[in-house]
């Protein structure tokens, strides 16, 4: 029996079309627009002005708080404007638009491909370096990584969990990274372990990636304290709480953080970004993006500079097909539908999926038959049918009592609902309202 989490879960069709495509560096675009808010938390503050010359890797926006992240230029060229642009959040927000001229990297970046294993920095220096390099959670949540590495006083990290689950259908960027950058990943994990002061790291990978599992298991023998675990394919195993439950059988308490059970979870992409930042002095300005879709000409995995227009990334995979009805930034379960493909790639763009028109629209909602399928698939043990109704009736206090704040917005309930009810739409709305009420109470 392969390990997995205990409650709920669904198994959507995997559709990993690009699993066999090697990571290819995307040619430089003519212009990039780099949003100053690509992470959870306070937006960064721009430190360049219109007309400034910038190099690849140069700091262009400064972190503006504890939960915030630095932004670096992904290209060399001239700052064309600081005007707001429509980004992948669907709102016009401030961004730094740079016209590309050549590809001149900051001199301090080590551009060699040699593996550098030894790391002489102390834990504090590593965390500071991660912060300076603007690293955020690369799985899509974009939470600033240095915050996660700074273990609060009174808590102790016991184990580092590396998320190679990639439970979202379609996406293959983590899969390819694990196959092609295994050694860098291992060194990155050792650095993260040092930063956290733990001796053990567990890599969780779903069993639909046997090549990655065997490859990493083989490399891991050369490094101390790294174990690779195969997991049963089950969505949403990539959720922090589910992955911790699956790997070390501990339940993060309701409303708590993973550190309360001694665990810290980082994505494989993040571990590699940490390796590059610490060992090669390379800040986070490019990432691997899966471009895929059932009717896309060549589903691919690209190494893309942050700020590249999404339209150009899709063009490199054969262009947007004729009958495309929806384009999603991220995975099909939790990703965000784009209202324009001119939006730029950001640090959280793990994939771009084009859906054909016939799959783009939701089916008409019928009345709830109380089949309880939503209850049985909810990985947090909630009752989506009830939360949906309470949210529509604006009964937010009752929703809080029904643990709506535990909802991880994985979408399993809406996925499974035979009546096609937009359960998560309303639950998310109610969760936001309850969050406001709770914050107001604390204030």
């Amino acid at each position: 029996m392969l390990k997995t989490f205990s409650i709920g879960g669904v198994h959507p069709p995997e559709n990993k079309f690009s699993a066999g495509s090697k990571i290819v560096a995307l040619p430089l675009p003519k212009q990039v627009s780099i949003p100053i808010a690509q992470h959870i938390g306070a937006p960064a503050t721009a430190v360049v002005a219109k007309g400034d010359k910038v190099k690849v890797g140069q700091l262009i926006a400064q972190s503006s708080g504890f939960v915030s992240a630095n932004i670096h230029s992904s290209v060399s060229g001239t700052v064309a404007s600081l005007d707001p642009i429509m980004d992948s959040t669907g709102y016009k927000r401030p961004a730094i638009t740079i016209t590309v001229e050549g590809d001149e990297w900051d001199e301090t970046i080590d551009r060699s491909t040699d593996l550098k294993v030894e790391c002489s920095l102390t834990a504090e220096e590593i965390i500071a370096k991660v912060g300076q390099s603007g690293i955020v959670g690369m799985g899509g949540a974009t939470f600033p990584s240095q915050v996660k590495l700074s273990v609060p006083k009174g808590k102790k990290a016991e184990v580092l969990i590396i998320n190679g689950v990639e439970c979202e259908p379609y996406l293959t960027s983590d899969h390819r990274v694990m196959l092609e950058m295994g050694h860098e990943l291992m060194v990155g994990i050792q650095i993260l372990k040092k930063a956290l002061g733990v001796n053990l790291a567990l890599i969780g990978i779903e069993n639909n990636k046997p090549d990655a599992i065997s490859h990493l298991a083989q490399i891991a023998t050369k490094y101390s304290g790294i174990e690779v675990h195969a997991l049963k394919v089950q969505y949403p195993q990539g959720g922090e709480k589910q992955l911790i439950k699956a790997l070390i059988n501990r339940e993060v308490p309701s409303g708590g953080l993973p550190i309360e059970v001694g665990a810290v979870v980082h994505n494989v992409g993040t571990a590699i970004a940490v390796y590059e930042a610490v060992q090669k002095n390379k800040p986070l300005f490019e990432r691997v993006v899966t471009v895929t879709g059932k009717h896309l000409a060549t589903p691919s995995n690209f190494l893309v500079r942050i700020g590249t227009p999404i339209s150009e990334v899709i063009a490199a995979a054969g262009g947007v097909p004729e009958n495309t009805g929806k384009i999603v930034n991220g995975g099909p379960m939790m990703g965000k539908a784009l209202n324009t493909i001119d939006a730029p790639v950001t640090k959280g763009t793990s994939g771009l999926i084009a859906f054909p028109a016939e799959e783009a629209k939701r089916k008409e909602a019928q009345s709830c038959v109380r089949c309880a399928k939503c209850v049985s698939v909810c990985p947090m043990g909630l009752e989506p049918y009830l939360l949906n109704r309470l949210s529509q009736k604006k009964m937010f206090e009752r929703m809080e009592h029904e643990h709506v704040l535990d909802c991880i917005e994985c979408g399993s309930c809406s996925f499974e609902c035979p009546a096609n009810l937009p359960l998560l739409d309303y639950i998310r709305l109610g969760k936001a309202e309850v969050g406001k009420i709770v914050r107001a109470r604390k204030a």
């Binding site: 959040t89 669907g90 998310r428």
Partner: protein
């Protein structure tokens, strides 16, 4: 057989009498004193329990009203001046007259003025759409037309026009309770002075983008050119964040701003028709019903 019937009737009657006596004494014992004027005030209130006054229902308002030293801060928007007068009389006080208000929708972005840029396919709720993205047109400030305002209206006074996709307020039914104002996640609806015979002038746009951007996304957007500000003889118009706003307390309904607005973003309603002179009369709304 008859004795069974008789005993049954007697038993039940006795039970009824005993229960009644017990209930009477319990009611006496646990009686809570309430100012009888609260009931009287509640009786003259409309009984809509809409919350427009800021209190939980008419009863809550009546309690606050009776307890209040100064009643000038309390107002029932549904009942209006008449109701407030009657309620004040119960307390032997005088209610100051307040100008009647009405909800005004400040967006004129019909499909012909504001092209769709994508197709919204989520649950039919403006709040859900807002939490997702800026909207299905180029204007990120404009009305989404999903009807959160309609859902909260207790008076059936607002509906979505099928052709324009925008909410329309029925000023005869609107009680200015403000429910729609709170419900609108785009802050488009505003309570404004109803005006003499319903005559009022307002900027029917909330777009804060720069002129060019605003104009590109919607042909009847306020572009923040400031012509109206310069024209207004009463200092009623201010310009902030590329958006003009008419203070309804200062506006004297002279209509000069309406004439100079290059995008027809300023609306006049319930005025007699002007002499035909300009060609863009068609862009003006006929009335708000």
């Amino acid at each position: 057989m008859s004795s069974v019937v008789l005993y049954t009737v007697l038993m039940l009657s006795a039970l009824g009498v005993i229960s009644a006596v017990v209930l009477y004494f319990v009611a006496q014992k646990f009686k809570v004193y309430e100012d009888p004027r609260i009931d009287e005030v509640e009786a003259v209130l409309p009984g809509a329990n809409c919350g427009g006054c800021g209190y939980p229902g008419c009863r809550g308002f009546a309690e606050a009203f009776v307890k209040a030293e100064d009643i000038s801060t309390l107002f029932c928007p549904v009942g209006g001046n008449d109701t407030m007068g009657n309620a004040a009389k119960i307390l032997g006080k005088e209610a100051a007259a307040v100008d009647p208000m009405v909800a005004v929708v400040r967006c004129a972005g019909t499909p012909e003025h504001r092209a769709k840029t994508n197709a919204y396919d989520g649950a039919k709720s403006c709040r859900i759409a807002t939490s997702l993205y800026s909207g299905d047109t180029g204007c990120q400030f404009g009305c989404l037309g999903l009807g959160d305002c309609v859902d909260v209206c207790n008076f059936d006074a607002i509906y979505i026009d099928e052709v324009t996709g925008l909410p329309v307020v029925d000023q005869d039914k609107c009680t200015a309770c403000g429910a729609c104002v709170k419900a609108c996640p785009k802050f488009i609806i505003e309570l404004r002075k109803k005006g003499p015979k319903g005559k009022r002038i307002f900027v029917s746009c909330v777009n804060k983008d720069k002129g060019g951007v605003a104009k590109k996304s919607c042909s009847v957007a306020c572009i923040g050119c400031g012509k109206c500000v310069k024209t207004c003889p009463h200092d009623a118009i201010t310009l902030e964040n590329n958006l003009a706003y008419i203070d309804f307390n200062k506006c004297k309904l002279c209509r000069k701003c309406v004439e100079v607005c290059p995008t027809n973003a300023i609306w006049e309603v319930h005025f007699p028709a002007r002499k035909p002179k300009v060609e863009d009369e068609t862009a003006q709304p006929v009335s708000e019903s």
